[in-house]
């Protein structure tokens, strides 16, 4: 498996394969457990965490509901600070722009800081096709790239590799890509990190072109923000002569001051730290400091499609913290690859169909990759109601197949879902009667389940909203098995062609 997610089997098939891999399941369970505990500790020490979540959601919502105005302002401010702004409707346009810039400088390599958007458009593939090597510089991305592998987690893309595997990959592959790993390399994480430092340093020092994404783009000031841990981001943003940042149009934050709640929410939600080691902000070109040629590519690639869905639009608030992945019982068992996309887990299950539309077998299977337990909403720092959007998308998938002469597998699957949803008691039995299930039911059918809570209510207990999510048991075995059986059938039908 190399390079791209294109042609991935539908979720149930890929999930079954992943479930068979005990090493993967062990790594995932360990990793998600560690992150959950760290997050709980640092979220618990913030008294007004729920206020922060409300503010974070409101900031992103404000950005999205007047996005055109903010984008025009962002462009104006970037240009005023010496940047060149490009617009790309889709992956091909964005890739052509970046390849063109690299070719214009006659380089055969670029250094990259981890960026999901460049994975989304498979920029590395496009650069490779033009004879340009794209060096991933994030440790996890390096592991994934050297291993000829695909990332499986937003935050820890190599979460599916343990230290012994990393050592093997470094020993085997580093020499072919540059400075080899030392022959006496052990599997101590500190030694592995030191090997990565030495391997990448020569690339940082000689690179002429750097490529990044951005976590946020402040329209008022033309400021891009990159949040990271290792310093590879700072290297890519500072040392090359030319910097190209590919930024999804949903990354906009209207004002400088409104960055504040997001900068407080993201590190605690993501790596479970009060603050991540490094955050870089810059506006265009800084004379005498860093790249003197700065490009920003503003990318649509399905975002306006998602924006047009008034229920699904909230998914574009996502700040890619990955908290929803770490609490998801489905994700913990299947891993990221099963989602067949750069955006895995609960957020991927809604973002991919929203951005790509219905009609593709793989994408259409994603809204079913959930037990609707609601843990993802409880932890989401920008309060994306993922269960609500999942239910909404399931009905869209079924609508899209309504005219099919032979009932599609999705329709058959949805029939079961619809039957379950058609009666509040049945749903209460099938899904855990959690606050979120209660809320979804209330919104859809005007009923309240026992245990149903108000969406904005602070939960009892010292850790607020977190406690119930962390202690959340796996969904009832019967419900999960029933779901599995339904989608398993879908998988067998859909999996034969690829």
């Amino acid at each position: 498996m190399t390079g791209t997610f294109v042609g991935m089997p539908a979720f149930p098939v890929a999930a079954r394969e992943a479930l068979g891999d005990t090493q993967l399941r062990h790594n995932l369970a360990h990793a998600t457990g560690v992150i959950r505990a760290k997050r709980a500790a640092v979220v618990g020490e913030v008294d007004n965490w729920e206020d922060l979540r409300l503010a974070g959601a409101a900031v992103k919502e404000r950005a999205l509901t007047d996005l055109a105005t903010h984008l025009e302002e962002l462009e104006r401010m970037l240009v005023a600070h010496g940047a060149t702004v490009h617009w790309a409707r889709d992956a091909a346009e964005a890739n052509a722009i970046v390849v063109g810039i690299a070719q214009g400088h006659g380089v055969d390599e670029v250094v990259k800081v981890k960026s999901m958007v460049t994975q989304e458009i498979d920029l590395n593939g496009a650069l490779a096709a033009a004879g340009i090597a794209a060096w991933e510089t994030d440790l996890a991305e390096l592991i994934v790239q050297l291993g000829g592998d695909l990332p499986s987690h937003i935050l820890v893309p190599a979460i599916h590799r343990n230290r012994a595997e990393v050592r093997e990959i470094f020993l085997r592959e580093m020499g072919g890509a540059g400075r080899p790993a030392p022959a006496d390399l052990t599997d101590e994480p500190a030694m592995l990190a030191a090997a990565a430092r030495a391997h990448l340093r020569e690339k940082f020092l000689r690179a002429k072109v750097g490529v990044s994404g951005a976590n946020f783009a402040v329209s008022e000031t033309g400021t891009l923000v990159v949040v990271e841990s290792e310093g590879n981001g700072r290297m890519c943003l500072t040392l090359p002569e030319v910097l190209v940042s590919v930024v999804g149009i949903e990354k906009v934050v209207p004002t400088w001051a409104e960055l504040d709640p997001l900068l407080r929410l993201l590190p605690r939600s993501s790596t479970g730290e009060r603050m991540n080691p490094y955050t870089s902000t810059w506006s265009g070109v800084t004379p005498g400091d860093g790249p003197q040629e700065v490009h920003v590519v503003l990318l649509d690639n399905g975002r306006t499609r998602a924006l047009a869905d008034s229920v699904g639009r909230q998914a574009l608030r996502c700040i890619r913290c990955s908290a929803c992945l770490n609490v998801c019982p489905v994700y913990e068992r299947t891993g990221g690859h099963a989602y067949g996309s750069v955006y895995p887990g609960p957020i991927g299950a809604i973002l991919n169909p929203l951005m790509q539309g219905t009609g593709d077998k793989q994408v259409d299977s994603l809204p079913y990759a959930s037990s609707l337990c609601g843990a993802c909403f409880e932890v989401c720092p920008v309060r994306i109601d993922i269960p609500e959007v999942l239910v909404h998308l399931r009905s869209k998938v079924v609508d899209a197949h309504r005219s099919d002469t032979v009932p599609s597998a999705e329709a058959v699957a949805m029939k079961g879902v619809a039957w379950t949803f058609s009666d509040a008691r049945r749903l209460a039995r099938a899904e855990r009667a959690s606050g979120v299930a209660g809320r979804v039911m209330k919104r859809m059918f005007g009923v309240t389940l026992p245990g149903g809570r108000a969406a904005s209510g602070k939960l009892p207990g010292p850790d607020g909203g977190w406690t119930s999510a962390r202690d959340l048991p796996a969904p009832p075995a019967e419900s999960f098995r029933a779901w599995w059986q339904r989608v398993g059938r879908l998988g067998r039908q859909g999996g034969g062609e690829s």
């Binding site: 206020d51 409101a58 994480p189 990190a193 841990s229 149009i249 900068l263 009060r274 490094y278 902000t281």
Partner: protein, 195 residues
Amino acid sequence: MSARDDILAAVRAALADATPEPSPVVSPVGVVPNDLVGLFAERVADYRAVVERCSVADLPARVAAALPPGARVVVPSGLGLDVPGQVVDTGLSSAELDALDAVVTRAALGIAETGTIVLDHGPDQGRRAISLVPDVHVCIVTEDQVVADVPDAMGRLDPSRALTWISGPSATSDIELDRVEGVHGPRTLQVLVVR
């Protein structure tokens, strides 16, 4: 139509039902610690950075003690302090910086709640590369530069400057989520808080 016009038109069409909110969102209050500087020192140390508090008179000796013996040290032109083994940055190349052992800078401010130092790369801090490439970073923060929380910092910082927020030494948890200090940025961060 250009890609720009197409995208903006698609955005406007998608949002036909949405009502823009003209006023910025008001940030929730940050923490208000009793002992601002004490909390700052404690939180910086939590990241396994070395933190020391000292007087202005002691500063030169503390800086010297924080540096590896015989180190060649890059300093920004406006540091306002003589450092043993110093090489004043005059636009050194990346390779030249890589050959140096340490860097000494001041800071724009410190954030107590998160244990963060923010550099705005003024003359006493130098351009971004000098505090990035060497393996040891000694950073001087004065007590009156320490603010309580992130919202206080946002109000004091100038977003038109390039900023670097530093919370502890470079780190990764990419291998089995074991935190390892020191990947590409300085592996040692020493913070001197001056009264």
